[in-house]
Symmetry: C2
Subunit: 237 residues, 2 copies
């Protein structure tokens, strides 16, 4: 008679429940750098006991958000796939009316501003760097944002010329918009975003700073971005 509740409600609540704990949310945000962390690293990062971490990781793995890999006495975890990463990104972008009130120390201030300049979002570029690249691609007619979010045929050729052929694997879209939580604007994600980020790291266009997600554009990277995309050198220092 009474439909009681919607069938999917329990599943939705269970999934959301995985993200509804501050410690687990902190894990997922840390893992947005796309790399694998050990359980101990995450425990120290979050400031909770190892036993607590172990239980949290168990839930996240069981829920399909994390993939784990055991190596000797280490338990490495990373985001399960691009879908899981997208979920965390989307939720994080929606959540904070811009979070951090003010950085405490100068060191943290430096780290924060480095993160704003450039960072990775799971497997693609974000921050001002990500926005600059996305805008440049759009300005050159390689990416179309006015009617949605898709590469143009010229854009496909551009990636080919870069030596990074794009192939669709599974259901992951070639191009997808990811909302930036510092710039509040969309930047390039999806297969193309991942390929570009990987190329940028392999070709030495940028290097990681510290142990987290921050990126720094190298001199060589500045020249490459200037030549290939017309981004003025020095914009991203």
């Amino acid at each position: 008679m009474s439909p009681r509740t919607h069938p999917g409600a329990a599943a939705l609540a269970a999934l959301a429940g995985l993200l509804a704990d501050e410690t687990r949310a902190g894990f997922l945000l840390a893992l947005l750098d796309g790399r694998a962390w050990t359980a101990g690293e995450l425990a120290r990062h979050a400031g909770v006991a190892a036993s607590t971490t172990s239980e949290h990781l168990g839930k996240l793995v069981a829920g399909g958000l994390l993939a784990e890999e055991r190596q000797g006495r280490h338990r490495y975890v990373r985001l399960a796939d691009a879908r899981a990463a997208q979920l965390v990104e989307d939720l994080a972008a929606q959540a904070p009316p811009t979070a951090a009130p003010r950085p405490r120390t100068l060191g943290e201030a430096g780290a924060g501003s480095a993160m704003a300049r450039g960072r990775t979002c799971y497997d693609h570029l974000a921050g001002r760097l990500g926005i600059a690249v996305t805008d440049a691609l759009t300005g050159l007619g390689l990416l179309r944002q006015d009617t949605g979010f898709a590469l143009t045929d010229d854009g496909l050729r551009w990636f080919g010329g870069l030596g990074v052929p794009l192939v669709r694997t599974g259901r992951r879209p070639l191009a997808r918009a990811c909302l930036d939580w510092t710039e509040r604007r969309p930047h390039l994600a999806g297969v193309a975003g991942a390929a570009l980020c990987r190329h940028a790291l392999e070709a030495g266009w940028c290097v990681r700073i510290g142990s987290e997600r921050a990126l720094k554009v190298t001199d060589r990277g500045g020249r490459a971005l200037s030549e290939l995309l017309g981004i003025p050198e020095g914009t991203l220092r």
Copy 2:
């Protein structure tokens, strides 16, 4: 010294916490029909006391997911905006490894299959109907899915010819992919998806069934979809 936790973690957890309760999740899924429900309707729908419902609605409104409108002794609530709707859609699409085990009664089975045939997703078409329209648009070169998800110039003109000019308002994209939870495939959302759904209802192409999200294609709708998009009549009965 120890970074304790990521700044956005608390905000993320708080937002996810709103969706992490089965009753609240049921409310949000019901509200995905895009219309306004009264508190009492939601209470009966979920099978909880009115007082409980009142508290839940207070949290959802405070969290920015719902907008409320008071009329006399009624409290109407609806999804706050397209962003909130997208969040629920995304999460719901990710959550269930296909939910409903098997429908209980024939009546429920009928309702379930009606939902699979056609329904609304907040403000756009979903179910087999949504997929069929999206596929037809893609096949005619009006929508591009191979390199992302965007209307083509022909697609823009097609909407104009339909008498539904598309204008970008705010940050909402003209076209966006929304993952269908019955078909497990993307369908058209965003400004264009909303405009098309509104036009379909106003022009009598389809009508709502019952009090929820299910849609039925009319004879006139079948003819229109056949003429305009080449969808064979009878496909969606």
